[in-house]
Symmetry: C3
Subunit: 159 residues, 3 copies
């Protein structure tokens, strides 16, 4: 099995709690010495958006999607008990008090551990997101790339 | 590993965005030459409902579930930002403009690529859905069938 | 592959329908002779909470989370069509009429089949849940334990 021991995670969700779970699993696997690919698709792309607004001329619908979706990890909500963002704030406060890494710290750690962060180009197209709007150091690829990584992985998750 | 290279996807969600992701991954894997099984359970069964109403005498609760759940891929909502169906409409409009395949086209493609579309019989029972209400060409089986396929797969996802 | 044939399920969701799916798959795999680990994290921990209230002195935020989250399988809602709990009640009624096992029965069956039920300690910390508040017979571990089990599994799911 030595040639099939990668870990590949599809990050479909843009919820804070699921993003945290994705990065905790991903960085944990990388720390164990596994080659890890995280493939961000649909709402998961919002985790990778730059905090600052990037001006790009876009068609109307693309602009609309862009406005409605959260920009930057600090703005993500919880999948449950979000209560207009209060739940997410509470969760972050509790995590900080208990010295649990924040999402931003986990993303940083993922880079340091050489996790491949791949943005799904088809989803970028559908949601009208451009490379310039996403954080630096990403790879850009489609489902065929995901599948070839997944095919060499023994841990495959869809989150 | 040659005998363990199938791809098996549990489609639990009946959301348009997750259904799209399921079929994009499934058809991608099949196009790469993998044997693919998609196992539809709970809300995922709604993706397989026929567009036209099929009259069947059912107990009251079954009828109620049947009425409340969306019939046919065109009626599915998004898992996020659905806004009473407007989000789903927007998404479909954007995808059409950008020549991304619709869910209906992906289901058609899945059939052409000989993907096994399996409806979970226990979920059909729980939700009161009958074979006649689902599209043609499906297989019907339970969790034991799913597990035997998953056991021969190196890509297993729950969506 | 004989040494890589475990089944490992991350139960992230605390929704009744997803909890049911997790246990149906888990007990099915165990019945087929597979070694099964179910790793409960975030909202999934609520599935394991004791029905009766356990008094523990907690910081304010922990107490608040504890109050807002459902205690005991009977209180879980559906991920879709929950309608303030009515959907969950309907689902349970329908399942009972059709002799489909309830979540409580499935948890009992999971124990009988020697499925390892593991509570994620980091999530317990984040949500302020204590061992005394969870049902008996659990193991307590972190992501490293999950990953070592997942690494020996050919069926890995995130639910």
């Amino acid at each position: 099995m030595s040639e099939f021991n990668k870990t590949t995670i599809i990050v479909f969700s843009g919820d804070l709690d699921k993003a945290l779970a994705s990065f905790i699993i991903g960085t944990g696997a990388a720390a164990m010495g596994k080659e890890v690919t995280m493939f961000f698709t649909f709402w998961g792309l919002n985790i990778l958006r730059k905090e600052q607004y990037v001006h790009i001329d876009k068609p109307f619908l693309d602009k609309m999607f862009g406005k409605m979706m959260p920009r930057d990890p600090e703005k993500l909500g919880l999948s449950k008990m979000n209560m207009g963002g209060m739940g997410a704030k509470l969760m972050k406060k509790v995590m900080k008090e208990k010295n649990i890494s924040s999402l931003k710290e986990l993303i940083e750690l993922a880079r340091e551990l050489d996790i491949k962060l791949v943005a799904c180009t088809m989803s970028m197209d559908a949601l009208g997101l451009h490379k310039e709007e996403l954080i630096d150091g990403l790879e850009f690829a489609g489902v065929a790339h995901y599948l070839s990584e997944a095919n060499e992985s023994n841990i495959n998750l869809f989150i």
